[in-house]
Symmetry: C2
Subunit: 439 residues, 2 copies
Amino acid sequence: MGKLSHLHLDIPKSQNKRIIVIGGGFAGIQFIKSLKNAPYQIVLLDRHNYHTFQPLLYQVATAGLEPDSIAGALRHLFENHNDFYFRMARVTGIDPEKKKIKTLVGELDYDLLVIANGSKTNYFGDQQMYERTFPMKQIPQALDLRSHLLQNFEQTVMSPDQDEQDRLTNFVIVGGGPTGVEVAGALGELKKHVLPKDYPDIDFDIMKLHLVDAGPRLLAGMSEKSGDKALEYLKAFDVDVRLKTRLEAYDGKDVKLTDGTTIPAKTVVWAAGVTGNVIDGLDQKAIERGRILVDSFNKVQGHEDIYALGDIALLKEDSYPNGHPMVAPVAIQQATLLGKNLRRQLSNKEPIAFRYRDKGSMATIGRNKAVVDMPKFHFGGLFAWMVWMFVHLMSIVGFRNRLVILSNWVWNYLTYDRGTRLIIRTFIRGKNYKPGDTL
Amino acid sequence: MGKLSHLHLDIPKSQNKRIIVIGGGFAGIQFIKSLKNAPYQIVLLDRHNYHTFQPLLYQVATAGLEPDSIAGALRHLFENHNDFYFRMARVTGIDPEKKKIKTLVGELDYDLLVIANGSKTNYFGDQQMYERTFPMKQIPQALDLRSHLLQNFEQTVMSPDQDEQDRLTNFVIVGGGPTGVEVAGALGELKKHVLPKDYPDIDFDIMKLHLVDAGPRLLAGMSEKSGDKALEYLKAFDVDVRLKTRLEAYDGKDVKLTDGTTIPAKTVVWAAGVTGNVIDGLDQKAIERGRILVDSFNKVQGHEDIYALGDIALLKEDSYPNGHPMVAPVAIQQATLLGKNLRRQLSNKEPIAFRYRDKGSMATIGRNKAVVDMPKFHFGGLFAWMVWMFVHLMSIVGFRNRLVILSNWVWNYLTYDRGTRLIIRTFIRGKNYKPGDTL
């Protein structure tokens, strides 16, 4: 968009105290909702103009849902809020002394600051992986993966070379958490039900799915029973699951694993973990392992008037001495409570300390197959899959998104089809497609 | 996707004659459908893996429909056809002597060649316009325009400078044909009903729509009555329509018109016309004004076994001495007839000459507003709008697309909302977002 130096963050002062919220993820939007009509001016900053429903990102990447269905326009979400401002801006720093944040388009004062900018893909400092693998955190990334994987099959039918065909149809997924397991399951579905109809000239035995995890089992954040069940489901899709194994090197052509195996593969999905999006300017003592240390009221340690919520916040509770899992329910519960505490403050009531109520966790591995952990019991199979769908459908923002996703799921289920098998690549205005971009 | 020199077009020979079809637009897909189960091997080549329903492209560009809803995966369309092959490849030349086509991934023999690769945006040789304006022919282009126009408003709220605000909120549309009129109408709707809710801090009187056309009236391809009606509708949206006016120069900042006006504008939509996608290799005598001359059986003049259909074909009939309008119904009728004639040939029947049956044409200018020309009469308003919707809905490929589009329309109509107001920009793997790209 060219030079932006002339832009600035221009928010009129109101009689209310100003809360700046950094990030329109689960924590950010829940926090703002919880303060609807409270006497605060809220300024939300995000580098995107939409909220991403990340739990369904893998379905966009595997052609099951259109990207628009898992996104909610942030301005639209808060259309009926008073004294609310949204600015599409990337925050680059915090100045706690002057109570200001810095962005690429200028600075802004706050009375209260809520840091809720979540997490990003963790490459553990490996530049090779950053450049050559597909992350799964943002909608454009998921679209990129969708186009890439379909393009691989278009190239496979034109490839005279067996090695090259293998390289195009091998998919390596790094990370056996929910994202890795769900991507592997969705690719298994594509292999079994969808792609063979599209590519009758390919023998789909050639398509191989590999899932690699450094730990001793899948879904480390869930129960052992669920991990075992997920492994069983993935094996039914012929997924080659390698535990206690790491990716050692990847040159864009061949994956080298620590168990000595080499897999020729053009596609490596990097779902090995996330790390906090730490912004410059906070006291270094408040940062631990890429997250921001907060007390049990989500106030950042060593700072006044700064809070952190969700993935970025590291809150050590008795039951969670290393912090909470970086998942949506934690973010939502913290955000709700902080909103409530700010309201209590207005009526001079004591704030309530955060305690995470784990309502369970779940992952899906394809048609009729999911695992659910409840605090007291675990289950899998068709019922788990239905619970998974119901919970996700009810959690997504906006009635319209719910309708679109539900109709897609019904359609996909009944037809064994995926409606969005489109290779949509970048168009750069004024530049032609380059030969390599679209064949 | 890197080097492709190792790829090749590998289509097994069958006992059937091979027809190569270039382009999966209206003509290409209709032609293939009309030959279902006929004793021909069909090879479809397209640089995209999907068919684009171009009449609704403007709704993608103006956030009314998701891109996936107006696209149909080409492989999926012909899943049940025998001896059918699709290859995603860009055709670069034809060798009529050797009966071969050339692509970026190698050559392929044909027995019959059907050229149906349609038209592209006509910049009339103006490199400035090509580099600085938004075309409206492809899905990635429509998405680019959608992101751009929303981003303009995000920047407007951060712009301290009145001139810059004007530049961001002025939209100049070049071309008063159906595309230009429909884009102007859709932007008018956004201004009136949708964007003010999103941007309460902008006074939307600042948003100005300008439509420029070199001719004396709008919708030159339709009746004068419809052109007048469209003008009236656009004026109700405060669109500044300038007829007999051309764009003289555009440096990316200021539009200079031939009537002496200068309009500061970051957005110019180029809908001034299309021209054929002529491929190298045909006899120069067969090319006229960017189209391929065909006889009344759509056979290319001076060539054996080569046909051209749709926008690219120039067929001079008594009633159309300068060729037919470059619209979908002509393409579909020609394609149907060519399929029928090839079947007649198999049973030694004489081919039937093409005669265009004009069933009417139409354009929509927003909520409850459209114009319809039937051969004998013309009408506008709510009924025309309903006819427009019905015809477009029934014409689009695929039951699923129909459902998705219908639900979007019902939603948009009832809520005065647009579900897809998302700025989704390119993500380039391994590269960070650059500051300028996403603010």
